[in-house]
Amino acid sequence: MSMRLFVSRDAGAIAVGADEVAIALQQAAAKRGVAIEIVRTGSRGLYWLEPLVEIATPQGRIAFGPVTEADVPSLLDALASNTPHLLRLGATDEIPWLKRQTRLTFARCGVIDPRSLDDYRAHGGYKGLERALSLGSDAILNEVTASGLRGRGGAGFPTGIKWKTVAQAKADRKFIVCNADEGDSGTFADRMIMEGDPFLVIEGMTIAGITVGATKGYIYTRSEYPHAVEAMKAAIVAARRGGYLGSKIGGSTYDFDLEVRVGAGAYVCGEETSLLESLEGRRGIVRAKPPLPAHHGLFGKPTAINNILSLAAIPFILAEGAKAYAEYGMGRSRGTMPIQLAGNLRYGGLFETAFGVTLGELVDDIGGGTFTGRPVRAVQVGGPLGAYFPRALFDTPFDYEAFTARDGLIGHGGIVVFDDSVDMRKQARFAMEFCAIESCGKCTPCRIGSTRGVETIEKIIRGERVSENLALVEDLCNTMKFGSLCALGGFTPYPVLSALRHFREDFVPAPTTLQAAE
């Protein structure tokens, strides 16, 4: 009988050598005359263990990692003779980091072959669509609303309400747009789900199409994600062949088809109206709202535009029922959030869990502190527009409202950890610089303000009239906050002001040194 091995084809795994390990396994096995089958899966998200190699056993999968090319011969020996190996991690499902999670959206990611429709179905795929087809639009809307699902792209807007607006709009054509632009630093969940479970995205979008009456969907993703683009395109072809896309999907009366579109390196194109402009073939300039995309979206037609993880949560909600989803979470943040742990962290990766876990638990306990071994000093949550949190705020629970109450945001769920060598003046300057580079240019506070912000923070760094310039930065931030059309200009003040507020000592020389200088 041949040995069945699993090696990830996720870009994050490939970046640390998964392809080389897969090739080495194949070659070494051939040389020894051992029959093996390698399934290229997505990643489980335990990136410090990548490249992870798993073997199927009657008792479930056993994991080994991180495996290098050099480990391959000894690993094959151990596998063939069923003897211990230094890299053996035991049963994959029992690895504590994985076991602690509640994987609703990422349940299949890292488990199945993302190229195989059969594998997807064998692991419960398309159950949500089946039930959706039997329910019809109104009942689906009730389920989605009752689940409490809020937009996972950052704004946290209830998905049920958005869909209802589009469903009620009258038009000859409607669209579903999947926002897979994921430009935030520290986030990679969208990429992982496209690479590891692309049929889930297709199923979620198909259900959305049925619900609102759209016959065409677009997945807009980034050019920085070529592996994800390839995986999505392959899955779309397979789904079409299987009768799950195209006309009369799943044997029903509904038609729905999908297309992947690739951006061209503009962060602002993650903003929904800018994304629509880009999809239509124009510069990604943000549109004023109203009209809402739900009424006047892609090509002027009613459009439901959702983050990919909002759409990927849908099949579970339909298959298992709204209540099963809403049981998880706290307050108005229901269900689970795929949290992404990144930066200077010992255990970086994807951790899906119910809302309510505290920031401190995520960083110290789950993330294991820094890999440099130095103390954690600052944590940026929610991408480049998110606030920097000091240790003093580590009791903040992961919940939309709790983060807002502390002048932060959870955004797309990215957490970036910095150790005590961080210079917060540099981070504040970078936030302004990023805004200047990525501004769509439509409004003055964002376009000009960010450049002035960079200049003023540079003066502070040089020690020029520090308190005066600090006041100027704060004033500028207020102008940007209230005078910008979208959250790029409007939220850049979050990282800047949080750095000023919580890490003041980096900006103002300590009083003792001042006195010493006088």
């Binding site: 239509e280 990144a342 994807l350």
Partner: protein
Amino acid sequence: MTTVYEPSHETSHEPWDETRGAEIIAEHSKQEGATLVVLHALQEAFGYVPEAAIPMVAQALNLSRAEVHGVVTFYHDFRHKPAGRHVLKLCRAEACQAAGGDALAARAEAKLGVPLGNTTADDRVTLEPIYCLGLCATAPSAMLDGRLVGRLDEKRLDALVAEAQR
């Protein structure tokens, strides 16, 4: 069965040719909102978006030249001239900064003798910043001619630079 992703190494491009350009434009311009699709296809073939292609794209898509030019200049991806033989991209976003990316970027600039965003005098290497490759859990990250590299450190960076200079 195993399919192994073949990392693409040196990228080769065709020299600009009007007939070939027209073919590519015709092939992609039928989709709705095709501008980016067409520009990506042109850049994939020629390594950049040639100035001469802009009026052709405009005509095919029923847009003004200014509109097409506006799109080309808005997006960071589109090149106005060919890149060096190899393109080394270093992630400059926050997760990579937190993991020591700033020092590595400075090291790459010093080794290649050009600041980020430039091509070496011998046209061998274009060094570019990129804002997040989605590999933030194994930061710092780089991309050499489409091949991804995580857990970058001085040693791995030096090897990448040497490979690009070959």
